[in-house]
């Protein structure tokens, strides 16, 4: 699932200032590591090693601790995402209704594996465990849009993908 980014880190000084400022303000908060990483991911979109290092410095904690937390939780991503983030629900309700096949089909169509991003940066594909719309199973999400009651037909999936630039 987790893949490390091979793309060069392209953070801006503004982003760094924003993160460092937040870290300085919240350093003393109990249990700060997770909120700090959530904030960092909000700013950068993902958590490359450079950003983890900033968090470690800002909180005055070993990088190993930060890395340990960043790799533990599925919400944290170590690789950048596409402009459009596809997430296929593989929760049980969706799975028994065939979301596994939809997930496979999308991998074929986009020619990428789970957790990867297309070379043009247009789509990244992930699977998730339950978005909580089990009544609409099987479900996939692209960015904030939810597509439910899917059949998994090629035409249907093509039409959905065609909506995104």
């Amino acid at each position: 699932m987790r893949r490390f980014s091979t793309l060069p880190f392209a953070g801006t000084p503004e982003q760094e200032t924003q993160l460092r400022q937040w870290l300085a303000e919240h350093k003393e908060m109990p249990g700060v590591t997770m909120p700090a990483l959530q904030k960092a991911q909000e700013i950068y979109g993902y958590l490359p090693i450079e950003v983890q290092r900033m968090v470690a410095e800002g909180l005055d904690k070993p990088l190993a601790d930060i890395y340990g937390v960043a790799t533990f939780y599925s919400q944290f991503r170590l690789a950048p995402q596409g402009r459009n983030r596809i997430s296929v629900c593989l929760g049980t309700a969706c799975y028994v209704k065939g979301s596994g096949k939809i997930h496979e089909k999308l991998q074929e169509k986009l020619n990428i594996k789970d957790g990867e991003c297309t070379p043009d940066g247009k789509f990244s594909l992930d699977s998730c465990r339950c978005v909580g719309a089990c009544g609409l199973a099987p479900v996939l999400m692209i960015n904030e849009d939810v597509y439910g009651r899917l059949t998994g037909d090629d035409d249907e999936l093509d039409a959905i993908l065609a909506k995104y630039e």
């Binding site: 909120p35 959530q38 929760g91 049980t92 209704k97 909580g132 089990c134 609409l136 199973a137 939810v146």
Partner: protein, 596 residues
């Protein structure tokens, strides 16, 4: 005063199917017809019948509109709200009985339900504290603080027989009792577990989305009972609507002095903070959850010491699940006898289930303990769609088991479910039909636990992985009878030796399917066949020469040129070349292609 109320479901299910656009359209149409001061639009929590979403209910009539689309709104406004004639063709068909419109309580889905934890979901606007107060909200907190001692509160919860709704079933009152020593002398915490990790379960999310104040009120009551002044709600970051409503609710409660210092002039202080989880199933385990709130990797630790003695930040802590809390205010207000009058001998009250999978009425249901699975599947759930056969009901998610058709009359409570190799779990209830392969489902759950195992203890980290490999062997058609013995042996070992609940229950899906659906395992191993037609490696596609017209459609659809035959002559499939994608079967117009 408004003459009509338009209640629009704002739960995740209905929001996903576009209920916010419908709500905006109602507002627009009402203004167009000058009705905005007569009719009020309210975004509520979940009505339960997610399969028919987006749902709109119009009061005072209680007309239940299902699968509403934006273009329906103008019609509903001009016909129903302007002329007073409900649009029958858009109403939920079970409520339409000839000329008469039945109330919801008489429909199959709602008839056997009893809403305690969900009582306000779909009834009030969860973003407005006044509506909660109008439905007796915070009256229980007032009663506890002004008329009861902390020990009386604990005794009431004990007497009610309420047990943890997160899955374990530990008596809630007992948990509180264990943490009540040294009130006022040591710092203590009250935590709420809203890290609903079971894939396919959304009860807790629905309670937080539909009735967040009930959880806040209950946590304050718990704080008073054990002598804690600080609460944490640990909630999944993947539940944005729930988090937002909880934030709003906490702010409102603070403004009204229902959280903060000296609540109800009783000298009792209590406040709540939200901690966002980041997606780790193991954090549903109590010690792991607390480690996660502390900001670390959410790994569990051995017990004892129990959290009641040494929990969050090393202080005595109680942790209850969202649904457990949602019952508390009702118990305080109506008394323990009222609560204990529902349910079975050892399992009191009601239980919320997220009903999903191959069932007509997917959604959220709340039934008294002791209701049978058959009642839920056949009456409330409306049976299996497309005329298929029921195969199994799965409860307890990755920790639970699959229950076969012959046990459908089992009453649902903690004892009965564990006796048949499953468990109550948090309340996910997934229905499977003849198209579901039970070996594949066991593999699905194990993939999940392998993924989510935190890695701290070896039996779980290595054992679940080895179990998964054995199952993969079987679904690939390479399994032997010796592998079945190995699975059973290893499963028992993982169960008995893992550190926390995740590992201790991880083998349940394998063991229960092996117990009740052994013939399916045997078909995979001995006949190299997947009876449900799911396991790819075991599938063989065949063309029936009597049905095939030689139209060549399938040959053109085949990505690997495995189909041979000339025009108007029956085709055949070269199984050596076939990649089993199923494209031929989808394109065939004559139903000549079968798999098995």
């Amino acid at each position: 005063m408004f003459r009509s109320h338009v209640m629009i479901c704002g739960g995740t299910g209905c929001t996903s199917s576009g209920s916010d656009k419908i709500s905006a359209e109602f507002q627009r149409q009402l203004e167009r017809h000058g009705l905005q001061n007569e009719v009020k639009v309210v975004r509520t929590g979940c009505f339960g019948l997610c399969a028919l979403g987006p749902i709109v209910v119009i009061y005072p009539e209680g007309s239940f509109y299902s699968r509403v689309r934006e273009e329906h709104v103008e019609w509903i406004v001009t016909e129903h709200l302007l002329k007073g004639r409900p649009v029958r063709s858009l109403l939920f068909d079970e409520t339409v009985d000839g000329e008469r419109i039945k109330s919801l309580d008489q429909t199959g889905f709602y008839k056997k339900q009893k809403r305690v934890a969900l009582r306000n979901c779909g009834v009030i606007n969860p973003e407005n504290i006044d509506e909660y107060i109008a439905y007796d909200g915070y009256a229980a907190l007032g009663k506890a603080l002004t008329q009861m001692t902390p020990d009386q509160v604990i005794q009431t919860v004990l007497d009610s027989g309420l047990r943890g709704r997160g899955g374990g079933g530990f008596p809630t009152g007992r948990k509180w009792q264990l943490a009540c020593a040294d009130r006022g002398k040591v710092k203590k915490y009250v935590c709420c577990n809203a890290d609903e990790g079971d894939p396919g379960a959304f009860m807790d999310r629905s309670v937080l989305e539909g009735d967040p104040h009930a959880v806040i009120e209950a946590m304050a009551i718990a704080g008073y009972a054990i002598g804690a002044d600080k609460g944490y709600v640990y909630v999944r970051a993947e539940y944005p609507i729930a988090v937002k409503r909880l934030r709003i609710a906490i702010e409102q409660a603070r403004d009204y002095g229902l959280l903060g210092e000296n609540i109800f002039d009783s000298g009792f202080d209590f406040d709540i903070e939200i901690k966002l989880g980041a997606g780790a199933f193991v954090c549903g385990e109590e010690t792991a959850l607390m480690t996660s709130i502390e900001g670390n990797r959410g790994e569990p630790r051995p017990r004892p010491p129990f959290p009641a003695v040494k929990g969050l930040f090393g202080k005595p802590t109680i942790l209850n699940n969202v649904e457990t809390y949602a019952n508390i205010p009702q118990i305080i207000l109506n008394g323990p006898e009222w609560f204990a009058s529902m349910g079975t001998e050892k399992s009191k009250g009601t239980k919320v289930f997220a009903l999903g999978g191959k069932i007509r009425n997917t959604g959220l249901v709340e039934v008294p303990m002791g209701t049978t699975l058959r009642e839920i599947v056949e009456e409330i759930g409306g049976g299996i769609p497309e005329g298929k056969q029921f195969k199994a009901a799965q409860t307890g998610g990755p920790s639970g088991g699959c229950i076969p058709a012959e046990l459908l009359d089992t009453p649902i409570d903690y004892e009965h479910l564990s006796a048949i190799g499953s468990m109550m779990g948090s309340g996910g209830l997934i229905i499977m039909d003849e198209d579901t392969c039970m070996v594949d489902i066991a593999k699905f759950y194990l993939e999940f636990t392998v993924d989510e195992s935190c890695g701290k203890c070896t039996p779980c980290r290595v054992g679940t992985k080895r179990l998964l490999e054995l199952l993969e062997k079987i679904t690939n058609g390479e399994g032997t009878m010796r592998d079945l013995e190995r699975i059973e042996e290893l499963a028992e070992f993982v169960k008995n030796n893992s550190l926390c609940g995740l590992g201790q229950t991880a083998p349940n899906p394998v063991l229960s399917t092996l117990h009740y659906f052994r013939d399916e395992y045997l078909a995979h191993i001995q006949d190299k066949r997947c009876p449900a037609g799911v396991c790819k490696a075991l599938l063989v596609y065949k063309i029936d020469p009597d049905k095939c017209r030689g139209c060549t459609l399938c040959a053109r659809a085949c990505p690997s040129d495995a189909i041979v035959g000339s025009v108007r002559v029956p085709h055949s499939i070269d199984t050596n070349k076939c990649v089993k994608c199923g494209a031929c079967m989808e394109t065939c117009r004559f139903g000549a292609i079968s798999k098995g």
